[in-house]
Amino acid sequence: TQLLEQSPQFLSIQEGENLTVYCNSSSVFSSLQWYRQEPGEGPVLLVTVVTGGEVKKLKRLTFQFGDARKDSSLHITAAQPGDTGLYLCAEGGTTSGTYKYIFGTGTRLKVLA
């Protein structure tokens, strides 16, 4: 069974600071998604990466997929209080032979004004 470890588990920073969170797998991802979840709501998709070495940008968020497709990072520039939430990576491909979308352990981010 593929395991997705995320680090750090918790992060509390001041508004305007930069941060990076990581997602690491015990095996190769076929594709990887990043979601953000706010309290009382379900996760919402931010991005999907498929190709090793791929970099995608979404406003102040930069997503990178490792060359070997076993890790990914999410970098936030000039964090804002609205970025507060639980960040989740998910593997949504055929690694296990099905499309069951395994989620990581999550990084809980709090941005202080």
Partner: protein, 114 residues
């Protein structure tokens, strides 16, 4: 509505009771997923359906848990003889046809077993 709908939003029950949680996916979405999430943790996969059939039920923790999707749309997660350890938020998600793509989640059903 346009999104995934889950009912009830909150359910409090006593140990040993039977519980049903309902999920109404986005119209036309063929894949439907159930997850369980404990506070501050990532969602734990339980089961997913492709159409009416369970394509992968490897995440169901034991035989007290069962899910159905008889007409390929609405799904019900059924928990028998509930235990305190079953307390969690149960999330449902749906996905359009095709092998990969975005999961659209409901707001979840919070189950508390006393």
């Amino acid at each position: 509505g346009a999104g995934v709908s889950q009912t009830p939003s909150n359910k409090v029950t006593e140990k040993g009771k039977y519980v049903e949680l309902r999920c109404d996916p986005i119209s036309g979405h063929t894949a439907l997923y159930w997850y369980r999430q404990s506070l501050g943790q990532g969602p734990e996969f339980l089961i997913y359906f492709q159409g009416t059939g369970a394509a992968d039920d490897s995440g169901l923790p034991n035989d007290r848990f069962f899910a159905v999707r008889p007409e390929g749309s609405v799904s019900t997660l059924k928990i028998q003889r509930t235990e305190r350890g079953d307390s969690a938020v149960y999330l449902c998600a749906s996905r359009a046809s095709g092998n990969t793509g975005e999961l659209f989640f409901g707001e979840g059903s919070r189950l508390t077993v006393l």
